[in-house]
C-alpha cells in the first residue's frame, strides 16, 4: 500500500446543510467573491444571506465553461473589490471558476503563469484565499479536487490550473440543491460522477483509500442514477447521487482516471459538449475495449478482477462476467439518452487528432492497460 491522500479542509454533507453557510463564512473574510450559476434558486439568495452577517458580496454569474477570458474577467472584479474570501455555488464550471479566482487572489501575476500546457506551468506558491465550494449538480466532485479546468478556445484545448494549495477549505454538499436539475443535466453530470468512481477503481493508481470510496459508490450509482433521472424529486436517489459525486471527487483527486477521461479532455477542448456527456458517450466502448485488451495482455491483472466485481455490482448477478458490466453501461447510456459522438458534432475525420491528443493526457496514462492507436480509434468508432 502506498497512499498520498489529501482533501478539502472540511466536508459537510446533508440535506439542509447549506443553511450553515453564514456560520461557515464568519471569521473567514469580510468581502466575498460569489461565483454562481445564473438560474439556481439558492445561488440567487447568497448575497442576501451574507448581508445578515455583514459580509459584502461581489456577485459574478458564470456562464458556460470557464475560459481564460472568463476567469480573467472574474479575477479582475475580485481583485478590484479586494475580496478576501470566495464562494462558488453551481455546477462544475462555477466551482472551477471560484477555485481559480481563490488561487489567483492569493498569488501574483496572471493565470497564464500557472497553467499547464499552454502557460508557464509555474508552481503556485501561496495557499488560496478561503474558498467554500457548494455544488448544485451531482457530478464533477470538484468541491474536493485540487484543479480547475480552463478552456483555451483559440487553441481548442482545456487545461488545468492545479495545486494542492487549491483544495477548497470547505466542501458544502447539500443534496437538495441538486433537485432542480433537468433530466438531461442529471444524466450527464450523474454519468460523470459514476465514471469517476469506476475509472479510479480499475486505474493503475488505485489504492486502499480510494478503493473504499469506489466500492461504496459504484453500487449506489448503479441503483440510483436512473431513478434520479426518471424522477428528479426522488430525494433518496438525489442524496445517493450527491454522495456518489463526492466519492468521485475524492477518488479522482487521490488516484488516477482512465481512457474515458483521457478522451473527454481533448474532445471537450475541440467541441462544445458537456464533459459528462462526452465521458459517458465513450464509456461503454472504453470498458469493453479495456476488458478485451486486459484479457489479451494481462489476464491475471487485478484490474480484470475488478471489472468483474463492477459487473456484479451493476447487474446484481453473482459471478457476472466483466463484459456484462460493459453491456450494462451501454444499456444505461441508452436509458439516459446519452448522445453518441456523431450527435456532438464530431466527424470521423477528427478521430486521428483526438487519439493523438488523448494519448498524451494524464488520464490516459492511468488507464489499466495501455491502449494501442487502433484500439483507441476503435473506441471512438464504437461510440460514434
Amino acid at each position: 500500500m502506498q497512499i498520498d491522500f489529501a482533501t478539502s479542509g472540511r466536508i459537510l454533507f446533508g440535506n439542509g446543510k447549506v443553511t450553515e453557510l453564514p456560520q461557515l463564512v464568519q471569521g473567514l473574510g469580510q468581502r466575498a467573491f460569489v461565483a454562481r450559476s445564473k438560474s439556481h434558486p439558492y445561488a440567487q439568495q447568497i448575497s442576501t444571506l451574507l448581508q445578515t452577517i455583514d459580509v459584502e458580496a461581489v456577485e459574478y454569474v458564470v456562464q458556460g465553461e470557464p475560459s481564460i477570458a472568463s476567469v480573467k474577467n472574474a479575477l479582475d472584479q475580485a481583485r478590484a473589490a479586494q475580496c478576501d474570501l470566495v464562494i462558488g455555488i453551481g455546477g462544475g464550471s462555477v466551482i472551477d471558476t471560484g477555485k481559480a479566482v481563490a488561487a489567483m487572489l492569493a498569488n501574483p501575476g496572471d493565470m497564464m503563469d500557472y497553467l499547464e500546457v499552454v502557460g508557464l506551468g509555474k508552481k503556485i506558491a501561496n495557499r488560496s484565499k478561503p474558498y467554500i465550494a457548494i455544488p448544485t449538480t451531482a457530478g464533477t466532485g470538484s468541491e474536493v479536487t485540487r484543479n480547475a479546468v480552463i478552456a483555451v478556445p483559440e487553441k481548442r484545448v482545456k487545461v488545468s490550473m492545479r495545486s494542492a494549495t487549491m483544495l477548497p477549505d470547505v466542501a458544502l454538499i447539500d443534496p437538495e440543491l441538486s433537485m432542480s436539475m433537468s433530466p438531461a443535466l442529471t444524466a450527464s453530470t450523474g454519468m460523470d460522477a459514476f465514471i469517476q468512481v469506476i475509472e479510479p477503481y480499475v486505474s493503475n493508481g488505485a489504492n486502499a483509500m480510494v478503493d473504499l470510496f469506489c466500492r461504496d459508490a459504484i453500487p449506489r450509482a448503479a441503483r440510483n442514477l436512473f431513478k434520479a433521472y426518471q424522477d428528479g424529486q426522488d430525494r433518496a436517489a438525489r442524496e445517493q447521487m450527491a454522495w456518489v459525486s463526492l466519492m468521485g471527487g475524492l477518488s479522482l483527486a487521490n488516484a488516477r482516471l482512465g481512457a474515458s477521461h483521457g478522451f473527454a479532455g481533448p474532445i471537450g477542448g475541440m467541441f462544445d459538449a458537456p464533459h459528462g456527456t462526452i465521458c459517458a458517450a465513450v464509456m461503454p466502448a472504453v470498458m469493453s475495449m479495456n476488458i478485451r485488451a486486459l484479457k489479451e495482455r494481462a489476464s491475471e491483472s487485478e484490474a480484470i478482477k475488478r471489472y468483474a466485481e463492477i459487473a456484479e455490482w451493476m447487474t446484481g448477478k453473482a459471478a457476472a462476467e466483466a463484459e456484462e458490466g460493459a453491456e450494462w453501461m451501454e444499456q444505461i447510456c441508452r436509458d439516459l439518452k446519452i448522445p453518441r459522438l456523431a450527435d456532438l458534432g464530431i466527424n470521423r475525420s477528427d478521430f486521428e487528432q483526438i487519439v493523438e491528443k488523448a494519448g498524451h493526457s494524464s488520464s490516459m496514462k492511468g488507464n489499466p492497460v495501455q491502449l494501442t492507436h487502433d484500439e483507441m480509434i476503435e473506441i471512438l468508432d464504437l461510440s460514434y
Copy 2:
C-alpha cells in the same frame, strides 16, 4: 446522511514513506521543534536528516504521557528557540505533545487558557504552526485527530486541548516504523486502534463516511492484530495494523466513541496505565453489556445489527450472533495477555468514582445505548 468530515491536510502512508520527510519539510519552516520518543531508532535520526536541508532542529524527548507541566516545558523551549515548524515522531504521547506545542506556538498565552474542564476552555483562534505527525506505534491515530490529551496529575484527570485548527498538516505513516514495538506495546496500541474502529461504527455518531473506514478496518484488525503480536517482523501484519490505526483516527475524529473510551478517560487520569490497555481491559464487557442492553431496550436498532456484523467479521462465521463478537473479543484479550483491571492497581472501592466520572465523558455519550449506573458497575466488575 449528515456528515461533517475533516482530516489532516495530507495523509501519506506506505513502507519507506518516512524518507520523504525532507521534501515535506521544505518550505514549511526553518527551525523545527522535534518532539520524539526516546529510543526509536528513526526518531533519533531526524535532526541529522533535517541538517541535510538546512533546517535547524530543536529536539525534545518525550517521556511518559503528556502533562500540563511537560507540555509547558516543551513549549517554553520551542518558543525560546522561535520554532516555526513542529515534527512529532513517536507514539501517541509524542504526537499529542507535538500537536499541543504546534497549537500554542501560534496562539498567545498559556495552555490552561484553552484546556477543557480544568482550564478556561477558550476557543483556539489561530491555525497551528505547520505540524508533521509521524506515528511509530499503530494505535492512537492521533496523526489525523484534532485533539491532544493532557494529564493533570494533581487532579487525577486527563483533558483535551481540542480544535479543528489542530489537525496536523501532514500525517506521515510508515508501517516499518512500527516494527520495533514490543509484543506488549503491539497489544495495547493495537487494541486501541481496533476499538477505535469498533466503537465509532456502533456509536450514535456513526455516518456513511466513517462506516467506510470501520467496515474496512474491523476485518483487517481481526485477522492481523494477533499476527503482529506474535511476530513483530511480520511486515504484512504490521502494515495492516498501521492502516487500522489510521482508519481508527479518521473514524473517532469524525464520529463518536463509546463506553470503552468513556471508562478509559477517567481510569487513565486516576491510574498509571497505558490508554490502550485500559480500553482493551473493559472492551469485552462493554460489548456484551451493550448488546444485552440494546436487546432489552432497542432490539430493532441499527447498532444491534452492526454488532452482529462485527461478530461475523471477527469469527468468520456467516450469521454469527452479536454475542459471539463479545466472546471473540474476550478471547483475543486473553491471547494478547491484556491485564485485568485488578492488575492495573484499581480497587473495587474506586468503581463508584470511575462510573461517576465516566458518566460525564463525551465518549460515553456516543455509546449506542445509555447504560445505567448498575450496568456500568457490572462492566467494571466483569473486567476486574
